[in-house]
């Protein structure tokens, strides 16, 4: 059972969407997306019709990404639990809705233009996280992500 957050967990999702014709049908995605869970940072690369790479990243890598998704660990868990329960994010847990609910925003960037990739590929990134409903996730202890 893959642990969130980890490269292993993101790779499991990557394998699901890369073999899902529905993900391909959403169209091309070209973005480098960060996921920041407290002190843990991961870089997801999307190219053409698939997620091509998942890797650990650092704070300094964020500025080279199109945007990154950041929220407190509890809210990450709440989002993923909701997806698991409903098979996909419900009306209150889509990435866009969460983005508006957090004062600092879920999608962040150092670049006013590149952040718009969050909108341009919104449904594909949403689909990526929705795919987590197909795996059983265990969560890392809070100390592990704040260390």
């Amino acid at each position: 059972m893959p642990t969130f957050p980890s490269v292993e967990w993101f790779n499991a999702i990557k394998d699901i969407v890369n073999n899902d014709p529905n993900f391909r049908q959403l169209g091309t995605v070209d973005a480098v997306v960060g996921v920041k869970v407290e002190n843990k940072i991961y870089q997801l690369t999307f190219e053409a019709f698939e997620c091509t790479d998942v890797r650990d990243a650092s704070e300094s890598d964020l500025r080279d990404m199109d945007f990154w998704l950041e929220q407190p660990y509890d809210l990450w868990k709440d989002m993923l639990d909701n997806i698991k329960k409903h098979g996909a994010a419900d009306l209150s847990h889509t990435l866009n809705t969460i983005d508006l609910n957090i004062p600092e925003g879920l999608a962040r960037s150092t670049d006013g233009y590149r952040r718009d990739a969050f909108y341009r590929f919104n449904q594909s990134i949403q689909d990526f996280f929705n795919a987590s409903a197909k795996i059983d996730t265990q969560y890392a202890p809070a100390e592990a992500v704040t260390a």
């Binding site: 959403l26 169209g27 053409a48 009306l91 508006l100 609910n101 233009y113 909108y119 449904q123 949403q126």
Partner: protein
């Protein structure tokens, strides 16, 4: 032989030698009534000696008793002034009587009919001219598909990928083809790259094509359930407003398309997808308004629309429409996605976010390109935005219906409309913040110049 050639005028003789028509053939044609001018004309049109001989042979056959025309055909020929020898010749070529009658009724003249038969009568072989195969275009071009397929960027290789700063042709000649003289202009008025270009337009075109969706069948329409009357009325008003905005953008971009010369086909192609996506927006908002027991609402005052319609140059239109207006519209889509009451609305506004952000991507990358290549246009662009923002404020003051509709929808009913107004203001703030942030990316600082009426949103 000397007697036969004596009747051939010198100019006809010279042209016959030049075109390879034997003089006995020329003489034969003159003998049956062709004039020197007609023969020179046929030669200049490319009629070969063989075709001429075939024509004369057919005519001789007709004269010698070929297919006899019917009385009805003779009468029709007399009515239209077609000589019987021509009729007989056409019949001997295999023409049907009813076809000949139709040609005469269509007004085909004797001269046109003779010329048609001299050129082979539709049944004889036509000599081909393959000089077009020698045109000096760049040859041996082999574009290869990428991970994204065979994209516009993938085929932009060699001379075909060279986008000039100034396009010199007024015709529809594709970039990389060879021009010919005398072609009429197509009425293009934009010939400078900086006026329209964005380095993003080719990938944006491909992205728009790949990420298209279909409102009729993709939206889960059956998930819409009856809403309280005031909330449904609010949605009807919002859909009226959003479909109006989309139609204006489609109309305006459609108006500018034929102004852009063909050298910048990537821009033309991308803008075609914007028109298509705006049509899809009009479609989906109208469908939503009419799908749940409600209907449309009040028309918008339309001041902001006029700022776009009245734009006198392309960058002015793009900056007001695809940076200012679309930033505010994107904010509306974001908030409508957040407050969606059912999966159908969630789907609609989620997809609209994607479409609209591409429009903004073109607008802002074009603006940056224009400002970097023509820095002297900075003040000009600021003035366009002064005007666009001013007109937007005029709308904001007068269009209370739309603002209140957002408030009622966000609050889930009229009784909490005041709370909903805070959401509507937050939506406007977000749209403006992102607008200013995008302008900064395009190297244009507008923090201090923002219209006071819009600045007030940040102070409320």
């Amino acid at each position: 032989m000397a007697n036969e050639t004596a009747t051939i005028p010198d100019n006809l003789r010279a042209r016959a030698q030049e075109k390879g028509w034997p003089l006995d053939l020329v003489q034969q044609a003159l003998d049956i009534g062709a004039t020197a001018e007609q023969l020179i004309g046929y030669m200049d049109q490319g009629v070969t000696a063989d075709q001429a001989r075939q024509f004369l042979a057919a005519q001789a056959g007709a004269a010698g008793g070929g297919v006899e025309p019917s009385d009805a055909l003779k009468a029709k020929a007399e009515e239209h002034g077609w000589p019987l020898d021509l009729i007989a010749q056409a019949l001997s070529f295999g023409a049907a009587e009813e076809d000949l009658i139709r040609y005469m009724d269509m007004g085909v003249t004797v001269e046109q009919a003779r010329q048609f038969m001299m050129n082979g009568g539709g049944g004889a072989s036509i000599e081909v001219d393959l000089s077009w195969m020698q045109v000096p275009t760049e040859w041996n071009t082999r574009a290869r598909p990428t991970k994204h397929g065979l994209t516009l960027e993938a085929i932009n290789i060699g001379k075909y990928g060279e986008v000039p700063d100034v396009w010199e042709y007024q015709t529809e000649m594709p970039r990389g083809a060879v021009p010919i003289a005398g072609v009429e202009g197509m009425g293009y008025s934009i010939f400078q790259k900086q006026e329209v270009w964005s380095d993003a337009c080719a990938p944006l075109y491909e992205e728009a094509i790949q990420r298209r969706w279909r409102p009729a069948t993709d939206v889960p329409w059956t998930t819409i359930e009856p809403l309280p009357d005031d909330v449904e009325r609010a949605m009807g008003q919002i859909c009226t407003h959003l479909s109006e905005k989309a139609q204006v953008e489609a109309d305006i971009i459609g108006h500018w398309e034929p102004e852009i010369s063909y050298g910048y086909h990537e821009v033309k192609l991308y803008l075609a997808t914007v028109v298509f996506e705006d049509a899809r927006a009009v479609e989906v908002f109208r469908k939503r308004a009419l799908s749940n027991g409600g209907g449309l609402g009040l028309q918008s005052p339309g001041w902001a629309y006029r700022a776009v319609v009245d734009a006198r140059n392309f960058t002015e239109m793009t900056t007001i429409q695809m940076v200012l207006q679309d930033s505010l519209t994107l904010g509306q889509y974001e908030y409508m996605e957040k407050y969606a009451k059912n999966p159908a609305e969630k789907f609609i506004f989620g997809r609209m976010l994607q479409d609209k952000s591409r429009h903004i991507a073109y607008g802002i990358t074009h603006l940056k390109y224009a400002l970097l290549h023509k820095p002297e246009r900075r003040e000009e662009v600021q003035r366009y935005l002064d005007k666009g923002e001013g007109m937007q404020v005029m709308d904001d003051v007068r269009d209370t219906a739309t603002r209140e509709a957002f408030a009622v929808y966000f609050a889930g009913g009229r009784e909490n409309a005041r709370e909903g107004l805070r959401g509507a203001d937050a939506m406007r703030r977000r749209g403006l913040q992102q607008y200013l942030s995008r302008l900064k990316w395009a190297t244009l600082d507008r923090d201090e110049r923002l219209h006071p009426g819009l600045r007030a949103v940040f102070e409320s």
